[in-house]
Amino acid sequence: MRTIGNIFWLGTKELRSFLRDFVLLGLVIYAFSLAIIAQAGSYSQEVHNAPVAIVDEDHSELSRRIAHAFLPPYFRPPQYITERDIVPLMNMRRYTFVIDIPPNFERDVLGGRDPALQVNVDATVMVQAGLGSGYAQQIIMTEIQDFLSHREGTPLSPVNLNVGIVFNPNVTTAWFTTVMGIINNITMLAIILAGAAIVREREHGTMDHLLVMPVTPFEIAMSKVWANGLVITVAVGISLYFVVRGMLGIPIAGSIPLFMVGVVIYLFFACAIGIFIGTVARSMPQLGLLYMLIYMPMNMLSGSNTPLESMPPWLATVMQASPSTHFVSFAQSILYRGAGIDVVWPQFLLVAAIGGLFFVLAIWRFRSSMAQAAA
């Protein structure tokens, strides 16, 4: 009872301090509004406005039809260039795709002479080139077949494949980047807020004061977890309902309350690690540098940017130890795929367990680090 009272009252103080710290307040507001909106403008997951050029050496109806088939939003209207410009323009990254239609292409197609058409792809523009080359092939093939069907009629394939993409039928990047942006922000802010709360108390000398009062490190750490966790939870809720769903009109399939439960569990971990590095760092700049080293891999490799499947297996295994990976995974399950508690509870448990571990570690470091800081 005493403990709960202490945790509660210390937490109210934490909230008051936070509301007076305009830099951190501004950071939270920016991170959950403008930064999310900016990420909605990212097309990193799909082919969008890909620049295409066409070298038309055929000047036939078919070559014109192919050119016209490259349409927004996937492709920009194609530009006509000459053959000798292919290399310099691709070198300058002007075009990701250059389609070279050889002379007499239409005639050869009609004559069944199996002509070859070249699609040059800048294979350093990874996502766009990878997906776009498939699209380009399909578009050209369809155009040729349509062109021919006017004359012959295409026979149906013996086996047809119908690929359906569930949970995000149009594979819109914004659905992904905005929600993942929120998730990355949760990690970022929880570490910063909890870590800064520790370092700030130490720099202001109030930590010494707390430690000579009848409160335990556990109570101090817990108060920071609940207060900073509450701030972020509220911000996440507002951001999901009003920014993502309201302003950006992105549908959320699953239960937001269930997701929020997961957020709370994850925040326990993230605040614990924030407190932990707050006890390791001896000044704000050191906190910041440590934060970068921890946050960047946790964020970039959690599966919220590039798929976990594409990492080397050893790295993917290592990343299983990071709760951010599980957080991204259950967030995707809940928010995109509408999964329920029956599906995600093992991950909830895992995150809570790793969080508990860091929390114990943080408390263990607490008093010894405070002693060092006094130097």
Partner: protein, 912 residues
């Protein structure tokens, strides 16, 4: 007294406001030349503001200020006279560089004033000799004692033979012996250069007795000016301190009476605290060395000594905050145990930095502490009322602690410390910075607690008159107790008249034993008087620029954390990103829902199973399982073969296969779809698949040519991109800390008051970070070649040139933020926010910037990395050279002047 005809400075109706507090209110004043002028008054009355204005470090808001016959609002005049003024700001060595050695510090200042090597060398030698610092020339400033640090500050100020020397509280927190030596040094310097004017602010009223002319200040106003004797006569006081109190407005003096200390009644002989041979070491530095003392119940026990003499460390050991390295402490007769909650309830502690939550109000602070000590609600309320009345806090209840005057804040700190009625109070320098009146009021409270409530008080101070009020004191120096006794006994034991003299006598004895204190040096060489600064003022000086470069480099090399972080942090992240960020989608999981279970359906699935991209999971039994396993993310895709697939195929009817792909990650989903379609085409073309329908040959072949990267392996794009990203983040962050650090630590003053210009300052500081970033680049380049096996196909020179321009822009990017921000934390997170998002999302690492839209596109275009990714990927993977990349190099280079100019505009040459 030296009566100069013209004043060295004249102020006319100067008013400075900061927020809603007025630091100076219509101050008009003439400062006489060629003599020693003292500025007296407590903290926060505008002394520092006034001195800052005289030195040209602060911007004048309203009014007129003439210094050395010119208008200080005029930048040209400031530039002209700054080499004739020397300014030593408040705080021990605040304008010094703690990581630099004594000689390096002085050399830095000499360079700023454009002195040649020869001139520099004899001047430094002479100054160090005369201040007795010569034997410590190679010691780092941070390892100097307070007194030595102030002497070093003085050396740095005197390096250019100023006509006006401005010292802001040069002796605060310094031990009495060093203080005395400091003033002797000033006297010697003045006897050598009688024309020099000295303006000094001080909080020690005793020191003011020795000045020629005093300016007494209170609450932004000048109370009186005149020689010490004039002031004393005018107020019929015996000391300057009494004169100052008499000069205060009557309202401030209300209720002030001479402090009476009733004699202590001895309550019980058993000691409340007993320390035996307490020792505390930090590494090889001994902060507290075998300290022993006992404090009896109801006693006021004082710890007296300079900053850094071990007072705070000892107190921290007694509160359990620090474990002693050796020795033991008994609290209430029991060994000290940091975990003993019951003991904590009996102790109140007030740490040196006020142990208050500045953002809470008075009421909230008291309330919080009452609750943490678990006073029952009713008792707590009563206690708060009592404390508020006792400590005179009624008028401030709902003000935030940060807005309170210092004296009130200290009373609140004490109130907070006694909320739970402790038996013992540990107070660490509770009165530093407070005016004499507030100090007396504070002591009234202490005496009441001690004499009437039997509270034992352990207090530390560096004011001798406060020390004299204690029942017993320990004199401390360099971590040792020199003597412990009743103040009067200490005085008589040394045969002197004041406690200060007694302390000095003890110090001299200890110094003689230790010989660590500098001996007063040889008299100044009088022949040097002929040499005046010879270098004319120039608008741009490479020497000044390099002064900053050299200094920043030394600091960086001596900061292992920043350096390690800069070099190995990037290497580590390069390793992680190089392996981790990949767009090669493989190891995809799928499961089959085969309703047909025919030979044909298995043949179709066989096509997938043979693929290296897919890993098959246990087959699905029904739709419900499909849904659940996809929801949990266990499988990325599912293939459904309907009943009758084989039969349809056999009969020549078109058959259908369904595939479901998890769209949670759009890129992965699109890729899987592409794989499925390709696989399907392979299946159709497979001659082993016996379909009854003849398959027409395709009308044309589409040849995909993956240029630059035939295997379409993402490592060839991602490693050069990761290199670009890391060169955007880390140099920017390091640079961002560089300028704002000086703002926070105070050495930015040197930009304000020395001839160095903003451009010299900015570029001078940027150069070392460009160097570090280039070292980073070299490291990552080698990692790319040898660890990731990404060969460099194009021109190395272009890549090197590009990297150089690029890190110049990214450091400049950090510079802009640093010039704008006021705290390190704001600069750090500002930079992190403004670089991480654009670098990872909007700078062409995953998507070409031209394909972005709206704000994302704008953020991408305004970020230098957008222009370096083509250079890095171009030279590594595309094999390009200057002909192809010249344009983008030029675009990148454009950032340099733009960002530098913005920083220039944001950085101020004067403090507001």
């Amino acid at each position: 007294m030296n009566e100069a005809t013209r004043p060295v400075a004249r102020l006319d109706a100067v008013t400075q406001r900061y927020g809603h507090t007025a630091a100076l209110t219509a101050v008009s004043l003439e400062v006489p030349a060629g003599c020693m002028v003292g500025l007296i008054g407590p903290d926060g009355v505008g002394k520092s503001t006034l001195l800052g204005i005289l030195a040209g470090a602060r911007q004048i808001q309203s009014g007129h200020v003439d210094v050395l016959d010119g208008d200080m609002a005029d930048a040209a005049h400031r530039d002209a006279v700054c080499s004739r003024i020397a300014y030593m700001p408040q705080g021990l060595g605040r304008n010094l560089y703690p990581d630099l050695s004594v000689a390096e510090n002085v050399t830095f200042f000499a360079r700023l004033f454009g002195q040649s090597r020869v001139e520099r060398q004899w001047r430094i030698a002479e100054l160090l000799d005369s201040t007795g610092l010569a034997p410590f020339a190679d010691r780092q400033a941070k390892k100097l004692s307070g007194g030595m640090r102030q002497k070093l500050g003085l050396c740095c100020s005197l390096i250019h033979d100023p006509d006006l020397l401005i010292l802001d509280e040069p002796t605060t927190g310094v031990d009495p012996l060093s203080r005395r030596q400091f003033w002797e040094l000033i006297d010697r310097i003045r006897s050598r250069r009688p024309g020099m004017s000295v303006v000094v602010a001080t909080a020690y009223m005793e020191e003011a007795e020795r000045f020629d002319f005093l300016i007494a200040m209170n609450a932004g106003n000048v109370l009186a000016t005149g020689s010490p004797n004039e002031l004393k006569m005018r107020t019929r006081s015996k000391t300057v301190e009494d004169a100052f109190v008499a000069l205060l407005p009557t309202a401030d003096r209300a209720g002030h009476k001479k402090l009476e200390i009733p004699p202590r009644r001895v309550i019980g002989a058993e000691p409340v605290i007993a320390a035996r041979d307490l020792t505390c070491r930090f590494g090889d530095f001994t902060a507290v060395d075998r300290v022993s003392f006992t404090i009896e119940r109801g006693e006021i026990f004082g710890f007296v000594g300079s900053n850094g003499s071990g007072k705070t460390t000892t107190m921290k050991m007694l509160t359990g905050l620090l474990p002693p390295s050796e020795g033991e402490a008994l609290l209430f007769g029991k060994p000290l145990d940091a975990r003993d909650m019951a003991a904590r309830l009996r102790v109140g502690y007030m740490s040196q930095s006020f142990s208050l939550y500045a953002e809470l109000t008075v009421r909230q602070n008291l309330d919080l502490h009452a609750r943490l000590f678990h006073l029952p609600a009713a008792k707590g309320k009563a206690r708060l009322r009592q404390l508020v009345a006792q400590f005179g806090l009624e008028d401030y209840l709902d003000q935030r602690a940060s807005d309170l005057p210092l004296g009130i804040r200290q009373r609140l700190s004490l109130a907070v410390a006694v909320v739970h009625e402790p038996e013992m109070l540990i107070l660490d320098e509770p009165t530093s910075g407070v005016d004499p009146l507030a100090r007396d009021r504070f002591w009234e409270l202490l005496i009441d607690l001690s004499r009437n409530q039997g509270v034992t008080i352990f207090v530390s101070t560096h004011f001798m008159n406060e020390a004299a009020r204690c029942d017993r004191i320990s004199l401390m120096d360099s971590g040792r107790v020199l003597a412990t006794d009743v103040p009067a006994n200490l005085i008589s034991a040394r045969g002197v008249t004041t406690l200060e003299d007694a302390f000095i006598s003890y110090l001299e004895e200890a110094t003689g034993l230790r010989t660590a204190q500098p001996t007063p040096g040889a008299p100044l060489d009088s022949t040097s008087e002929t040499a005046r600064p010879t270098s004319p003022q120039r608008a741009f000086s490479v020497q000044r620029l390099f002064a900053y470069t050299i200094r920043e480099t030394i600091e960086l090399l001596r900061d292992p954390i920043r350096l390690t972080f800069a070099l190995f942090g990037t290497a580590l992240l390069m390793l992680v990103f190089g392996f981790g960020i990949s767009t090669d989608v493989n190891n995809l999981t799928f499961a089959a829902l085969d309703h047909d279970q025919s030979h044909e359906s298995r043949a179709y699935l066989e096509e997938l199973r043979g693929s290296s991209y897919f890993v098959e999971e246990a087959p699905l039994a029904n739709y419900a399982e499909l849904e659940k396993r996809m929801q949990s993310g266990e499988i990325d895709a599912a293939i459904e073969i309907p009943p009758g697939f084989g039969r349809d195929l056999e009969a020549g009817r078109p058959a259908w296969v369904g595939a479901w792909v998890d769209g949670a990650m759009p890129f992965r989903a699109s890729t899987i779809r592409g794989y499925f379609q390709a696989m399907h085409q392979l299946y159709l073309a497979d001659p082993a698949v016996k379909t009854t329908l003849p398959q027409p040959p395709p009308p044309a072949r589409i040849e995909l040519r993956f240029k630059y990267n035939q295997d379409f392996d993402s490592i060839y794009a991602m490693v050069p991109s990761s290199l670009s990203m890391l060169l955007a983040l880390f140099p920017a962050i390091l640079m961002a800390l560089a300028i704002v650090r000086e703002k926070e630590l105070g050495s930015i003053t040197n930009l304000y008051v020395t001839p160095v210009t903003r451009i010299e300052f900015l570029i001078g500081k940027q150069i070392p970070y460009i160097g570090v970033a280039m070292a980073n680049f070299a490291l990552m380049f080698l990692m790319a070649l040898f660890i990731f096996q990404v060969p460099l196909k194009g021109s190395f020179l272009v890549l090197l040139l590009g990297a150089f321009i690029y890190v110049t822009t990214t450091t400049a990017y950090g510079m802009v933020i640093s010039a704008f921000a006021r705290t390190q934390i704001a600069a750090l997170f500002g930079t992190a926010i403004m670089t991480v998002l654009p670098a990872s999302q909007f700078a062409g690492m995953m998507t070409p910037v031209s394909s972005l839209s709206g704000m994302a596109q704008i953020m991408g275009r305004a970020f230098p990395m957008t222009y370096f990714v083509p250079i890095s990927v171009g030279t590594f993977t595309k094999g390009l050279g200057f002909a192809d990349l010249g344009g983008v190099l030029a675009e990148l280079a454009l950032f340099i002047p733009v960002l530098t100019f913005i920083s220039f505009l944001l950085l101020r040459k004067q403090e507001r």
